[in-house]
């Protein structure tokens, strides 16, 4: 059984991707062996207020227990405390996701002090999304890079008591960040080189890697095969494929 820590619902404006309903997404993921998935709504990436998309997310997964909703919040909005409260009232959430590059704030913002304290008080994990797309293939008018590793390093030093999940990180970025910071885990969606996992495991322990597919932006089958068909030991596959996510998110 696999747990996907990086799946999405909703349309994407720049690619003709499948716009799954909740049950359709669960069926699609199950075809690649994924039985549980942490899911966000792509509509929250571009909306000035992420809540309409979060509400669609909660409605879409309500009767699909395989999908665990992860609302996207913007700590730079003055209204995030009431939005967090609304999300917690809507469903039993385990984490929230932030997208600093898409939502136009840096990880130095003072708003994150209160935001991180609120997450800790509510026993919620933070997922920090580094990127959703390869920068080279973005829509021509969308000039946006991934969240810089120097900024993430500063953020990890600033909040040493929080262990966060980084999604969408490139392999060289992960290899650069790992030696200096222990308070993060990472998904493997955007990590790729020949023998990806064997190389990654030389830089970061298996208990800090998690399966993430970035469905539907990336191919679910391709991303799960990166783990399932790799040559790392079965125990390591199990850690990355489900155990780490289960422990981290208390699934």
């Amino acid at each position: 059984m696999l747990i996907d820590t990086n799946a999405n619902l909703g349309p994407w404006p720049f690619s003709p991707l499948p716009d799954y309903t909740g049950p359709q997404l669960a069926t699609h993921l199950a075809a690649s062996g994924i039985r549980r998935a942490l899911v966000s709504h792509l509509g929250a990436v571009f909306l000035p207020d992420p809540m309409p998309a979060n509400r669609r997310l909660f409605a879409a997964v309500k009767r699909t227990p395989a999908l665990l909703p992860v609302p996207i919040l913007n700590p730079a909005l003055r209204t995030w405390p009431e939005q967090l409260a609304e999300c917690r009232a809507a469903a039993p959430i385990r984490a929230v996701k932030i997208l600093p590059n898409y939502h136009n704030y840096t990880l130095k913002t003072r708003a994150l002090d209160e935001f991180m304290a609120a997450l800790a008080a509510a026993k919620l994990k933070l997922i920090l999304n580094v990127r959703l797309e390869d920068e080279r293939h973005k829509y021509f008018a969308l000039r946006m890079k991934g969240v810089p590793m120097t900024a993430i390093g500063g953020f990890l030093r600033r909040f040493p008591d929080h262990h966060v999940l980084l999604t969408g990180i490139y392999k060289p970025e992960l290899e650069k960040l790992a030696p200096d910071h222990t308070n993060f885990s990472a998904d493997i969606a955007f990590c790729e080189w020949i023998n990806t996992l064997e190389l990654l495991l030389k830089k970061i322990p298996a208990n800090r890697l998690m399966l993430g597919t970035c469905t539907p932006l990336l191919s679910t089958r391709a991303e799960t095969d990166k783990l399932v068909r790799s040559r790392v030991p079965a125990r390591t596959k199990k850690l990355i494929g489900s155990v780490n996510a289960r422990r981290f998110f208390k699934i």
Binding site: S15, P16, L17, P18, S32, D134, E135, R136, H137, K138, F140, A189, F190, E192, W193, I194, N195, T196, T215, P216, L217, L218, S219, T220, R221, A222, E223, T224, D225, K226, V228, R229, S230, R231
Partner: protein, 256 residues
Amino acid sequence: MRIIDVHTHPIFFRSGSKRAEVAKLVARSRALGIVGMVSLGDVLLHGIHPTPTQVSEMNDTNARLQSWHPDFFSSFCFLNPVVGERAVMKEVERCVTKYGFKGIKLEISNNARDACMKPVMEAARRFGLVVLQHSWSMVNLKLRRLHSDPADTAGLARRHPDVKIIMAHLTGCGFRGVLEAKGCDNLYIDTSGGYPEEGLIEYAAEHLGADHVLYGSDLPIRENTVTIGRILGARLSAADKQKMLYGNTARLLNLK
């Protein structure tokens, strides 16, 4: 399922060149169902404009893989078209007669629109070789002097309808690249390059026909499990997937 990978760089900046390393790669590839691999060479070892001597050295290295595993590796002759007609013809003839190379590999020495491509295409025609042209959408990268946009590679194919051309890097070419290639019967596209972005395989099959899509990984930059999984997971018939993974390249290069 049998697989031929049409786009690989088993030796990459001299890494992976030892016989034991190559044997390990072959064994691991076979375990995934890969029965053949087209080695395109260590194409950026000497930068974007290698000398004729450096080009020959790279092709000799590539030929060594083929000699170690003749039932597994096929090779393409890497060229720097900028060095001129005489050097291009000499190198192609050498690689075909001495090593039996199956095609020509073009990287980022120039754009496929440039006049220096004429002798390259003449060599391909004379020796019956397939031409694989690095291609990537230049909308964001702004390096078109050296990198061929899909429009440039499609233009090359339209100017030379009697030469079979592979437009490399489906992911880098994107949806627009597929449309640029549409309607050009001597033009094929390989699935290498970039992360496994959803929907492109199906889009290429819809607009170019499954017969014109070839499995490629761009190894070692990419992982075979991922690049194969992307095709296996596509919303296509098993027959179309088998064509992409094996049949099309086997037919194009006359491989068994």
